[in-house]
């Protein structure tokens, strides 16, 4: 099959590799029809994430058609499915509490050591995101092996476009869970740092959950414009001082809930320097945690901070004093995708949530390497690139 493979910093290629096979009873093989490049894939592209190996297949946002099933899979050939980016077993203690991203069994036993050393306990596996997260081949390919196919993938009814449901795999549930974690009450003002895909879905979700006002913060004009389309007020942090602007906009009270959708690193679990910190226990402290600091300082007393943004390891200058004195609540975590998929699929089918606005580019899989370059160089214009393995090159023009 053809697949987008990683070979080093700024070196990804579409190559011919062996097709995936059913290896475990609960596996299924999916023929990919749509797969997105995620902002966090750029961190792999930039070479920030350790434990990558030459030839690794990337991609964790994908959907397609079931073409093969293991004896314990509940899927049927021909079904269309969206696959969650988290690989979770569905039967451990955490999965039974719907804390899917905390699954005990998603990572191969040998790969659990690193996560255990870093976090105290191992987390779920992820598709296409280095060997620390399991070494699973990703979905920027013609085919993918999906473990635990009886609990992960959600079946999509016929007649609904890929583009409408693809983002159930990651960023839509992530934006939704972040808004849920903000515990929005009627009349609330919610501030969202970052208008990438996650932030933009936070904006939509916050309004659906009853927020009266949503204030979106970024510096890319096109992304701020998209936030405005959903009814958000905006702050361009290159033109205004974020804290001062928020205080003025909220009459000096501060937002009731603050959502940090910026982050230090993407999904990756690991900032570039974290692995070394674990190894040698020297705390060099990164100073890139601006958005979470701002969120804590701006938040109203007794308010809620929600942090879908991914942080790697240790952070310096975390305003623990402000956090304590103001009595804030912080909720965070990798998304429990499987938990949110069914309700969000319904919301899409009922037309309550629109996801297609996000897609700025559609390309054949063969052009994936160009897609990475484009996304990397033009963050204002490119909000989301969707790769379509079956797509005709001629269609792209």
């Amino acid at each position: 099959m053809r697949a987008l493979t990683w070979h080093g910093k700024h070196d990804v290629r579409v190559e011919t590799v062996d097709d995936p096979e059913i290896l475990n009873p609960r596996d299924a093989i999916i023929r990919i029809t749509s797969t997105a490049i995620c902002g966090s894939d750029l961190h792999l592209y930039d070479g920030y994430i350790p434990t990558m190996q030459s030839g690794d297949i990337l991609g964790h946002e994908f959907m397609g058609e079931v073409v093969e099933t293991g004896p314990k899979s509940t899927l049927q050939k021909g079904q269309r499915v969206v696959v969650p980016f988290t690989i979770s077993c569905g039967s451990c203690f955490h999965c039974s509490k719907h804390q899917y991203s905390a699954c005990d069994n998603g990572l191969p036993a040998d790969n659990q050591d690193i996560a255990q050393a870093a976090y105290g306990q191992p987390m779920s596996g992820l598709f296409g995101y280095s060997h620390m997260t399991g070494g699973y081949a990703g979905g920027q390919a013609e085919y993918v092996r999906v473990p635990f196919s009886d609990v992960g993938p959600i079946v999509i009814p016929d007649g609904i476009d890929d583009d409408k449901v693809l983002f159930l795999s990651d960023i839509l549930p992530t934006g939704w869970m972040a808004a849920e974690n903000a515990e929005i009450e009627p009349g609330d003002t919610v501030a969202v740092w970052g208008c990438g895909p996650v932030g933009l879905f936070c904006v939509q979700s916050a309004f659906l959950m009853g927020a009266e006002r949503v204030i979106a913060i970024d510096h890319f004009p096109r992304r701020l414009e998209l936030a405005r389309r959903f009814g958000a007020e905006t702050i361009n942090y290159e033109e205004s001082r974020t804290y001062d602007a928020l205080m003025e906009i909220t009459g000096g009270i501060g937002p009731d809930a603050c959502i940090d959708a910026v982050g230090l690193e993407a999904h990756g679990f690991f900032a570039d320097n974290v692995w070394d910190q674990i190894k040698v226990s020297t705390f060099t402290g990164t100073d890139r945690t601006h958005s979470i600091r701002q969120a804590i300082l701006a938040c109203r007393k007794g308010g809620r901070v929600s942090m879908p943004a991914v942080y790697g390891g240790f952070v310096d200058k975390f305003p623990l004093g402000a956090f304590m004195e103001k009595g804030l609540t912080l909720k965070t975590g990798q998304t429990h995708v499987q938990h949110y998929m069914p309700a969000l699929l319904n919301a899409i089918m009922e037309g309550k949530i629109d996801t297609t606005f996000l897609i700025s580019h559609r390309m054949p899989l063969e052009q994936a390497a160009e897609g990475y370059r484009l996304f990397h160089d033009k963050q204002n214009e490119v909000t989301k690139i969707v790769l379509k393995p079956g797509m005709d090159l001629a269609q792209t023009a």
Binding site: D18, D19, P20, E21, L23, N24, P25, R26, I57, K72, I87, C89, G90, S91, C92, F93, S96, D104, N105, G106, L107, P108, A109, D110, N111, Q112, D113, G125, H131, G134, G135, Y136, A137, R145, P147, F148
Partner: protein
């Protein structure tokens, strides 16, 4: 103060103790202790005690989740022939006898005279609190081949028994909770290479 206040003693399991005498206590919990290097490890498995005991008690099953155990064969009288992978493509073998067998609770074993690597161990199954399944504790005592040096070499090969036990317990948990053992491989060939 009464006897209940023993200074310096806590409720942590002996396998985690910094004190030599507690490690000795743990060693004595083995019916026929063999070896001088102790490792103990507990994992919670979301399944009933008896089911876990039953699978483990069929010792022939052990290679399904113990990566470095090539095979275990019954040779009669509660004795088993173990063939275990060692560094540099070698194998080590021994005959071990079941020294303790309490259905649903515990299994103990000890190698007989002449073992390549004298070892003994026990596996305990206890109800986890709050209906969360079973606590499975593996306690293994062994003579590292070549003493301290052997241990260092074994570590390089990731066959050091404490690491091996931790990973094997995780695989046992996966098999019991999910019916399979997670792998990041894409093809059968990659999977076979990983198992080597």
């Amino acid at each position: 103060m009464g006897e209940t206040m023993t200074p310096g003693r806590d409720d942590a399991p002996p396998g985690t103790s910094k004190r030599a005498d507690r490690v000795e206590d743990a060693t004595l919990s083995l019916v026929e202790p063999k070896g001088d290097s102790l490792s103990a490890k507990t994992v919670t498995i979301n399944r009933p005690r008896q089911a876990l005991y039953d699978y483990w008690r069929a010792l022939e099953n052990l290679p399904t989740f113990m990566e470095n155990v090539e095979r275990v064969e019954a040779v009669g009288d509660g004795r088993y022939h173990w063939v275990v992978k060692a560094p540099a493509g070698r194998t080590v073998e021994w005959i071990a006898a079941i020294t303790e067998d309490r259905p649903g609770e515990a299994i103990g074993w000890a190698s007989e005279e002449g073992a390549d690597v004298p070892n003994s161990g026990r596996i305990d199954f206890r109800d986890a609190p709050g209906g969360r399944g079973t606590w499975v504790t593996a306690t293994i005592l062994y003579d590292p081949p070549g003493g301290v040096i052997g241990k260092v070499v074994a570590k390089l090969f990731q066959r050091e028994p404490a690491i091996q036990a931790r990973r094997d317990l995780r695989r046992f948990k996966q098999l019991m909770e999910t019916g399979e053992i997670a792998t990041g491989a894409r093809t059968a060939r990659q999977l076979a290479e990983e198992m080597d």
